[in-house]
Assembly symmetry: C2
Homo-oligomer: 100 residues x 2
Amino acid sequence: MSKYVAFGKITSHPGQRDALAQILLEAADLMKAYEGCELYIVGTVDDDPDSVWVTEIFKDAEAHKASLALESVQEIIQRGRPLIVGGEQIKLNPLGGKGL
Amino acid sequence: MSKYVAFGKITSHPGQRDALAQILLEAADLMKAYEGCELYIVGTVDDDPDSVWVTEIFKDAEAHKASLALESVQEIIQRGRPLIVGGEQIKLNPLGGKGL
């Protein structure tokens, strides 16, 4: 099974981006201790004041799915949900490269 | 200076995606020996038969800029250019996370 590589754009209600980013940074902290997660970067882009982007690499799709089932992650998702109006995810089929 | 984190969508002429991906995988091989590059993943997405995506992390913007000036990279860019019709890049302002 190949690695799970994805970047997701999560759009907050106007003015809630930084609060959402803080919650996602908490998720990133959880992922630091989660062996199946190899990369989990939270960031913003200049031309979008309402969105937070998450770049993630997991050992495989199963490791990603299992991370979402963690109670600590579910708690963060519940807290973040009211801040979110929408989102989109770009799921990559990795062909190769450095850091894969 | 913060890390350079970006993902780029490079769109090929119809039917040229795999040829373009091979060229970008050569670039990824070059980046394996380039210390300033921490991640360089080449991949595709299911719903776009013409695009190749590159996910990249460099030590900083200077390391990224210097990589483009390498003769070996310039040679690859010249070879890839005829296959390319367009592209877009999402440059992230990283706030934190795992693997940063």
